[in-house]
Amino acid sequence: MDLPSPDPAIMARKSAILARLREVLPADSVIDDATETRAYECDALTAYRCPPLAVVLPRTTEEVAAALKICHAEGVPVVPRGSGTSLAGGALPTGDALILGVSRLNAVLETDYPDRFIRVQSGRTNLSVTGAVEADGFFYAPDPSSQLACAIAGNIAMNSGGAHCLKYGVTTNNLLGVRMVLMDGTVVDLGGPWMDAPGLDLPGLVCGSEGQLGVVTEAWLRILPKPEGARPVLMGFESSEVAGACVADIIKAGVLPVAIEFMDRPCIEATEAFARAGYPMCEALLIVEVEGSPAEIDEQLGLIKQIAGRHDPVELREAGDEDEAKRIWLGRKSAFGAMGQINDYMCLDGTIPVSSLPHVLRRIGEMSKEFGLDVANVFHAGDGNMHPLILFDANKPGDLERCEALGAEILKLCVEVGGCLTGEHGVGIEKRDLMGVQFAPADLEAQMRVKDVFDPKWLLNPAKVFPLAVSAGRRAA
């Protein structure tokens, strides 16, 4: 993975830059002690690390603006960071970059039930947004697996999804507006607590821009009333193709489950060894969850079981009570942890049209053999968001490279069938160099023009998203 070499001029001015930052920020908000900055060397994509120039942890929008203004004047790159849970390297610094962490901006600013929104500072964790409103019967819908730790700022940067977005949508569908600081320190409000943006949809443009357009410090989020209840059903099938066909039939039948999750045999085996959720040993299983009153749930699950019946399920297990529901979800929720126990793994995130599921799963199986690396599949089947986990041994020379090569081939396959490189994790540095697979030069040029407008000097998270060769002229400017 190439990263631009640190600008020696910035490295040479480090102490002067830090002195300027300390003039406008409280002493404990500017960190350059090497042991303390170590925690900021990487995010959840731990294969890549780099110590940053320094770290600032502001407490207010004004402090964010003051810090950015100085970096803008000094020409210092800035890498915004939420909770550092990015799987794509979105918060990986370069040696000459300042990490701007929003973790201390974590307050709830306004809760409005009649108008169904909450305004929070962006460092607040995803789960604690729901935590602030659930006693009153509301929740914030997007639920990435890392929701206990991940920050709203990062959710907005990556347009995060989650298991339940089949019904409720991803971050962009639940984001009403943002307060954002531009690289030159200007504070703008884009959107607000109303259902569409005035003029151009700038909040929609900012969501998913990977921290390259500005630093979001506050967000207006849509909150929803909690459903009366929810219940999952677990279904086992004798092949991945059959399970894939069942997914398409459920969707076609007019049922809209909140989640359809898929696991294949390698994943089931690893999960069982780790979590002992009591899953059937079969080639593929689906967990389908529906919501509503008990009678509404019965009706929907009845229909789903009837559809599944046409695909000769080897197992059909409906949760009778809360405990059984938890057991059904236990394995799925421990899947990543389970894989981590037995191996190093790389988690991909390509999305494909649901109709291509059987073909893509078969091809992944073939490629896995060609490369001699096992692949386990666990993913959001309802919306085609795959999560192939490539297993490798980080201590074995050449394994990581082989794993990356297989990953690239799988993502190319996703694009080839009409899908995309990343469904919810973002491009970051991880998929940066594959962007040319999905986009023509003119497509990338159009995206980079947006950055030209928001951040003309290309100082915000500059080495991400676009292949370095493609963005070189702009970054040097």
Binding site: D189, V255, E299, G384, T422, E424, F454
Partner: protein, 372 residues
Amino acid sequence: MTELCPETEQELAEAIRAVAGPVAVRGGGTRGIGRPVTGQVLETRGMAGIVLYEPGALTLVAKAGTPVAEIEAALAAEGQRLAFEVPDRRGLLGTEGVSRIGGVVAANASGPRRVQAGACRDALLGVRFVDGAGTVVKNGGRVMKNVTGYDLVKLMAGSHGTLGVLSEVALKVLPAPEAAASLAVAIDDPGAAVAALSAALGSPFDVTGAAWLPDAGALVRIEGFAASVAYRAERLAALLAPHGAVTVERDADAVAAHWAAVRDVAPLHGRPGDLWRLALKPSDAPEAVARLGGAAVIDWGGGLVWALVPAGEDARARLSGLGGHATLMRAAPETRARIAPFPPEPAAVAALSAGLRQRFDPRGVLNPGLMG
């Protein structure tokens, strides 16, 4: 000046490259709003047809000039529909013509189901367009979840042809429900109506429409499987009873007619005055209606207000201090030239919008000035 009517994306790109002056981009011509644009007319009707429809994947791809009616018919044949409920603006704006999907997307036109299923922009999975320099650009795709690169899909939705001319759009579609019901609560006062609508939208009963019409009172819609609709209608009727006398409509055609009237803002068709559209916090809607003083329709649980204002008057002056924004939708050309139809932006935001227009349309030829 002859109109341009390209039949392919390639021809569209060539046509834009060749123009020397402003171009007025036209889809079906049914929802023309904004500052009047003088220029050579560019019609998109020549680029028409459904390119791909996969009911099992809930996705449809169509060329921009495809009539909405053609798309809706194809979906209905498979028991599906466009979830965002395309409004028919002809009656309201006094226009004629055939609504085309590119225009719907360019206007981000969304009906009552916005409160539950999202806006047009939320259903939009991908776009292909030609920018002001005549370059073909694609963004997004045809899958439900896609965070690969910047989201120009959202940027194009609601950009009214000022950043590029759409050539193709990919949409998420949804199953049409088995049944629907509409509850009417006899309420004359907009404040009491919004309170009732907020109660309904804050309930777990999955409301897909929440509106107030002056003569019909507060309206709440639910959709889904028949037994589920019956159950939720009963629960909502009990919930809404303290707000006024509740009647429940279960006949499918009658429910559809009620909500077509809301979607198309039927009570304000053909009435004198300028028409304004307000997006605001639902709880601010009653105050906005009172300040404007004229006939009004409330949708999106209060989040959307349609109001008639005496011709030539700037409604924004009356709304000062309230949050949200107001768009002048229908008025004489001289009024639309004098009063900015789109909400004026603070300087820093206006600079971003202007910067985007300049980058996507460096010669300033695409609907110049339409959005301000």
